[in-house]
Amino acid sequence: MIEKYHGISPKSDLVLLQKLGERLAGKSFLHINSTRAGGGVAEILHRMIPIISELGIKARWEVIEGDELFFDITKKIHNSLQGKAESITGEMWDYHREVNRRNAAKLDLGADAVLIHDPQPIALVESKTPGKWLWRCHIDLSAPWEGIWEHLSRYCSKYDAAIFSVAKFAQAMHIDEFIIPPSIDPLSAKNREMTPQEIRDAVTKYGLPIDRPMILQVSRFDRFKDPVGVIEAFRLVRKYNDCVLVLAGSPATDDPEGETVLNEVRNYTDGDPDVFVLLLPAFSDEDINALQRAATVILQKSLKEGFGLTVSEAMWKGKPVIGGAVGGIPLQIMHGHNGFLVYSVEGAAFRVRQLLNDPSRAEAMGGKAREYIRNNFLITRQTRDYLSAWFAVENKGKNVLEL
């Protein structure tokens, strides 16, 4: 498995993985989350567990079980951590704790390091075993709803360390807090290399022209992704530049507003034959990959965003990305260097025009974008960071460690 990343991931990441593996070989590393399929956490764990195992570490992945009520409560907790007003009653917290207790009784929690993902299984720490326990929060905690964090932090303080995706999501606590951004897997269907024929086939399958520059945004049909703003920007671009716009997204089962927004977007296109709104079936990873590779310029004009890993996915394909300056997007795009950050429809249109009219600059930017992702946002870096955090917790008090 690891050898497949040779020539793709930075050599230093692979060397460090090997060194950490030598130190941690024979030890056990348990990951626990709440779903085996669906969502970015499960997606990355499927790929990461074999990598860790290959280093000689006994890696294990367990999933907690819960009923509909439990997941309704944890959805509310999730939304509330992201700033939405939610009422979570004492009974709800009790039920959350009770389900965690039942799972703790069923699961084998014995391991040298236990990494608990997100709030659903956070209360397992009450059944803490002698190993090192780390809580990994994948959620944007920059502005949590009043009171919610105070409740969760009672569990959090029982861990040996916490891990957040971005520094601004971290909270004031008395335990070590590591910042580990998420990552993409360059070998997955969504990111693997494709032949020109595969790309052409996918583009023609959706009836898209192959002989005109393509502006693309891949995202759910969600107002925070500003699809209407993207169409407005496209109209400004079209005054002087011949191109087409593709808005591609899959339906999200957990988003009841998706269909309403999709209809709004379709109405807003007003029958423009150069605007293509594609509702892709679930698991269209290969098609998304092909569309990104076929695009001339990629937009992620979000108004609110978590980390926004779709930006990394697009940049990995060597494309200049124009992104809204929100959430984790500024961590991926260095304005003017490997893409552009924008704050308005007009700003987005201006940057699209710049890139369409200066293909050599667009190509250079795309090249820098790919290298930036290679050095910072691939799965090998995230695996390396998880092992480093574990190793650091084992050597508490030291900020410089020689391997």
Binding site: V15, K168, S388, L401
Partner: protein, 220 residues
């Protein structure tokens, strides 16, 4: 036998202190209390982050980009952390610049929500790259091919440990080439990216080797 040069490399991982500042006064208050590791990260480790070289430390960067206090950011950027013997004296110097500015402009801007200054520190993991140089020519090859974090570790981080970069220390010491070491010490650490530093090191050593290889009338 000459003591070889062991190319090491390092990886850093961010750690949050949980502290944040929304304006210049809060930044000042936090700078007075943060620990030395956090001071080190926001000053000496600025070059690890691959920023465009508009500033020379995170405080200057934030003052310029988030608060848009350009004059302050220029003054903060002119602070050379290598001039100070202790982290405390560096801290004092930064506070003096901020205090001067606050006297002239007592009501500085607030940063936008989400654009506050977050105080971090780093966990650094050091490990051998497996490359060792026994002479200047091998050192040249090493510089050409090692990971950029190796250049960071030996050129920037070493100044904190030893007061000088590792390359010039080795060249002046075991290799006894003092004038070449001086040329390397003359490379401005603030004006170049890591790759530019690598190129400067390579060019300086290559020129020395070429000069030595030439016999009268020879040309390389």
């Amino acid at each position: 036998m000459t003591e070889p040069f062991d190319f090491k490399q390092c990886t850093t991982m961010l750690k949050s202190t949980g502290k944040r500042a929304r304006n210049l006064r809060e930044l000042r208050e936090c700078i007075t209390v943060i620990d030395e590791e956090s001071m080190f990260h926001h000053t000496f480790q600025y070059f690890l982050k691959g920023h465009l070289l508009e500033y020379t430390n995170d405080f200057a960067h934030w003052a310029g980009e988030s608060l848009e206090e350009r004059a302050l950011s220029e003054r903060l950027s002119s602070i050379d952390p290598y001039e100070f013997d202790t982290m405390e004296s560096l801290r004092k110097s930064i506070l003096t610049v901020i205090d001067d500015y606050l006297k002239k402009f007592p009501e500085p801007r607030q940063a936008m929500a989400g654009d506050e200054f977050y105080f971090n520190q780093t966990l650094t993991l050091i490990f051998s790259s497996g490359i060792r140089a026994r002479n200047l020519a091998e050192c040249l090859m090493g510089i050409k091919y090692v990971d950029p974090t190796s250049i960071y570790y030996h050129f920037f981080e070493a100044r904190m440990r030893l007061g000088a970069d590792d390359f010039s220390t080795w060249i002046a010491g075991p290799l006894e080439r003092k004038s070449l070491a001086e040329k390397i010490r003359a490379i401005d650490p603030f004006m170049h990216s890591l790759e530019e530093i690598r190129q400067h090191l390579y060019d300086t050593i290559e020129t020395e080797l070429k000069t030595e290889m030439k016999t009268p009338g020879g040309e390389l």
